[in-house]
Point group: D2
Chain length 397, copies 4
Amino acid sequence: MDFSLSPELIALRDRVRQFIAEQVIPLENDERQSHHGPSEALRRELVARGKAAGLLTPHASRELGGMGLTHVEKAVVFEEAGYSWLGPTALNIHAPDEGNIHLMEEVATPAQKERWLRPQVAGEWRSCFAMTEPSPGAGADPSMLATTAVRDGDDYLISGDKWFITGAEGAHYAIVMARMEDGSATMFLTDMDREGITLVRNMDAMDACFAGGHGVLRFDDVRIPAADVLGEIGKGFRYAQVRLAPARLTHCMRWLGQARRAHDTALNYARQRHAFGKPLAEHEGVGFMLADNDMDLTTARLHIWHTAWLLDQGEKGNFESSRAKVVCSEAEWRVVDRSVQILGGQGVTGETPVMRIFTDMRAFRIYDGPSEVHRWSMARKLVHMADKAAAAPEAGA
Amino acid sequence: MDFSLSPELIALRDRVRQFIAEQVIPLENDERQSHHGPSEALRRELVARGKAAGLLTPHASRELGGMGLTHVEKAVVFEEAGYSWLGPTALNIHAPDEGNIHLMEEVATPAQKERWLRPQVAGEWRSCFAMTEPSPGAGADPSMLATTAVRDGDDYLISGDKWFITGAEGAHYAIVMARMEDGSATMFLTDMDREGITLVRNMDAMDACFAGGHGVLRFDDVRIPAADVLGEIGKGFRYAQVRLAPARLTHCMRWLGQARRAHDTALNYARQRHAFGKPLAEHEGVGFMLADNDMDLTTARLHIWHTAWLLDQGEKGNFESSRAKVVCSEAEWRVVDRSVQILGGQGVTGETPVMRIFTDMRAFRIYDGPSEVHRWSMARKLVHMADKAAAAPEAGA
Amino acid sequence: MDFSLSPELIALRDRVRQFIAEQVIPLENDERQSHHGPSEALRRELVARGKAAGLLTPHASRELGGMGLTHVEKAVVFEEAGYSWLGPTALNIHAPDEGNIHLMEEVATPAQKERWLRPQVAGEWRSCFAMTEPSPGAGADPSMLATTAVRDGDDYLISGDKWFITGAEGAHYAIVMARMEDGSATMFLTDMDREGITLVRNMDAMDACFAGGHGVLRFDDVRIPAADVLGEIGKGFRYAQVRLAPARLTHCMRWLGQARRAHDTALNYARQRHAFGKPLAEHEGVGFMLADNDMDLTTARLHIWHTAWLLDQGEKGNFESSRAKVVCSEAEWRVVDRSVQILGGQGVTGETPVMRIFTDMRAFRIYDGPSEVHRWSMARKLVHMADKAAAAPEAGA
Amino acid sequence: MDFSLSPELIALRDRVRQFIAEQVIPLENDERQSHHGPSEALRRELVARGKAAGLLTPHASRELGGMGLTHVEKAVVFEEAGYSWLGPTALNIHAPDEGNIHLMEEVATPAQKERWLRPQVAGEWRSCFAMTEPSPGAGADPSMLATTAVRDGDDYLISGDKWFITGAEGAHYAIVMARMEDGSATMFLTDMDREGITLVRNMDAMDACFAGGHGVLRFDDVRIPAADVLGEIGKGFRYAQVRLAPARLTHCMRWLGQARRAHDTALNYARQRHAFGKPLAEHEGVGFMLADNDMDLTTARLHIWHTAWLLDQGEKGNFESSRAKVVCSEAEWRVVDRSVQILGGQGVTGETPVMRIFTDMRAFRIYDGPSEVHRWSMARKLVHMADKAAAAPEAGA
């Protein structure tokens, strides 16, 4: 067992930390942001800085221009990047692109990679992942997928409505999940300017950290040639899993950085602001919250590292990434909520970055599977494993 | 013991409920709102509707044109009004005016009432309450009051900085808390257009329900004649208590309405949205949250009713209103947080009113004393009461 | 609305309080107790004291020798009695007899009352309620009832296994729930010395406050004449509800007394024990727990009073008594757990009564329906009510 | 980073697991147990089995006959041993002996080791650690130490009262903490049969897993020669830290085994017991609790492993062992409490081992520093570290 980081990883972590502090945080109050996230101009400036620092798209393979980070290395780097809400954009590791890049590397053909992935890894293009649908379509339960793909000659015609599509506005291409005539699902690649694709509106969301916001899309007989199918026909649900287990975990990593930022802000305030005769931090009521923050941050980090290590060993880690997602999303949220409470009025106004973190992070307990769905899937797996153990010949009580 | 409402109160409750449903909720998406609350034009339209419905400023005395509601009656009416975030504005019972009206009725001279209170009760003017200060001034600990009042002939010169002053922008008058040369505190009344008063800026707050937002004010040798002292010199802290005990409770009442709205929204969604083969509400994970919501709503309502009844009996109720404030702010918050979770994506976007309620309500656990300050003051009182009981001659174990 | 107690009720409350302090608490360390509760000898001494004080079986009707207390009056009296774990025995209001007495008053024939109820109300006899069964019989789900009643001439033959039967050892009579041949359920009355009834063993339970402990019973072709059917054939499940709604609530009342005792013990300790330079109670970490205790005790009491009042109005109160059961069992448990924590080593040893209260009370979150079953039943009811409201002609959003 | 266990450690873990299952769990219902723990006869039988299996005192150095386990190895082995409440006794790794052995190895002279430590490592003798005192002496705050040591020629005379002294009855020797005339503290070694040492009584404790229970001791001018001072005069508080940091962590390890046992018991029950038409485990309300158990167990294990690894690197780990103690004691307790809830009646009776685990484990949140003291010490350290960071030349915001 070994919890140490290699000297190279420590050096990389420190470089990212310095980059965020010096190049990214100073842009946090830049006006080129709206409640639909940083504008394309701001994004390009951030990406340029990330590139200049040699830190762009570090999770992509070296062939494509990344650093080919392992999951454990990502855990360390993404936490640092997440210390600023603009950090993931600057390193080109924000959702949904980070997960899309991973999926494309795993599944796309060389031609598809050349066409869509290379400019994305270079930070020139963004993408979106079009899976979630309005009721009664696919939400927490992906099996309710309603968007259809119908064979038409060598092409497919895609029709349906999607929403909560992060980054849709301004994305260059989309990965679209659709239901085949036999009930299976397939992923399709398409440029966003294809005929039949409409950005109906950009939703009014609580968070403001994702470039492009969250869009409502309509697909109206969008014609997609067979060459643009991502992977194999009918394997959409399987690929969704390929994408999701690590994608869930990278959310945990980035938000851990945000939670740490909130905690640091609250800790600094509590050391300096006095009330009832002493600094806030010397009141047990506040001190206990700071201690709880430290516990929750460490708990989240340990689950992330453990699960990342499992993925690096080649395990699928579906159970463990579900577990990490619930643990981290809830622990990190508690940290931010406590930080707001410690900061008082400064926690609920723009006087500190913590208000932004609070409103940005609430959705994390919901997307990529709400806590309830993960708890349920964990329960079934626990029962299944116990059933198997009980059926084994050597099973005891 | 009797938990029933009088027929008159039931009739009034139903009138308010209908008014909110028919006259107020339809305006919730009105564009005359910003993150600094409803605009003055929207406020005037809401007040006009409240007046037409005969429901304006119902907590004010009949002499001033109100209904002279008891605390218990307020509990019922304010909960209904709070069902919409515009409701308190429409009934002229929003913070800080509601508490200011109460304080003015208790303490102001007839001339002061005629000058400032009467137009406020009529819904024409708004006011603000200028107590909170930036560090190292008065925050959760009011004894750190730094704004000074210096006698100058028959006048007082007020100087100091205030922030988080709800409703400051657009307020007609302010109640200003300042420290006297002997260390005591006094409340002063002043029109907001007096020389020396500057609205430095309006803060960027998470909530958006208070007309006028939350301002930063500078008082720079503001000259206030002795006739504009509110009540007696040196009694500022005492009056703050007169204002606070009921003001805390009316927050609990209005937010209970918002929490109920969030729960109703989530319940309706959970009945209709299907996942994994049945409506969400038939999943225990969701059903348990709905049950917990009902428990928390009832707990909050019972504490409100109980404390309101005590105030109606003439008790000061400082301990009980502290207790109700902590219980309600935390229970109502849990309801809203669970409702967001049940609604999933619709809880973190403008698709439902619940996102607004979530961001509007977070500060409630902080203002009028954060939970931690109330817990601490309760603890001291519990010890004090136990000390007294132990000292009594008949004290047993 | 009125939260006041009548002068008569206050006087009764004070009498009970004094009786518990002077006549019951001094017996708490009496050696005639085991982990199966107080012995019959101790029970008789307690009952004699209760009788001498004129406080025996106060919930029974005046006809039978009780005081005919309303539900609200019971709320006040039972809380006081519950201040000592021997108090409910002394007043003859312990479970399951208290609920059995209520059920018998509602349903039994005059002859049955004369035979079984009168001596029970007089404190001479105890009874038990034989419903719960080992797997795969009736547990949290009563519909799984496996004990059978087969018609044989004018009699019924009862066969089956029961466990967790509180008070079985030493009980004079039992109310037995059995399944009829048509699938319905019926309640039967039987003396415990009838042929075919075996006390298989007394279970080793965490609690030690119920006279007779918790027994395992076997019914083996027990012959019961038709005259001993309780109420009507086939109405067993309905009567179980008649018994349960108020019985649940009286548990809440008695345990509220125990929780208050734990809190008082912890508060006294925290006032006197010093650590780190001041009394424990002056540490915020401890003071906050004391404040939380006060909040939870008040929350429990308000729910009890509210539900008791509803029952006094003639409402069935199934929903509300479920809600009160969950709220109270969880709030009262938190109080006791915090009190243990404040007391430190003295909370986990016999140095104070709190260890006993802790081990006695844990089962309360389980019996009369675990929290999970009540939450589920509340959820269904909430959905049902919302469905009805939505179907009503005037229904709005 | 590496979360893998070496093949040797896996083999050792499996041997311990098999030993516990085959040699220890069958003795759990042995009658030679009381609420003061296993009798000496039962302890000797367990130790004999542990010795025969080659697993006795594995944490002791090889010189003394142990295995010289690292902290990480202890983490794995102690969790397995803790799966049965008799396991730690069988492996001679129970508290307080485990911590005493560690302290003696670090501090005792060769002669002291020969005299006291060698027979203890061999499982022949037990010891106790006499630090805690009744009010107003040393409790959670060790600085209140009241027992005195007065120099008398070459000897010291020890006088004072101690309580909650685990294992006192039947212990062969004690480590006694006493205050010197200059206010510092010193640890003394003494056989328990020395003149002046009285076991006043054995306390009535909630737990029943520690051989010898928890005693009240009186030291009355006990004469201890200078040769029996443990380590140096005046270093008692420092040695208490040497003992405590790892001792806290071994509690976390052993109780993790008990918590896992409770979870396994609940999981098996939930798979088999049906209610409302399906196995309990298929109810979300139960399944969520099982998932939460898995999260809490994993969280505890990760904190233990991480802190053990730090100690293995030679770090003091005071902050981290405080953190692990709070996290583990609370997470493991939640697991046991949920397991009780899932088991229903079987969780609060001797039908399963979980009732025993519940009553045995409650004190863990209190001893070796209650959660509140650790949170407070963590808070001070967090502030101290932030102060240092802020004072550093390169410190940013």
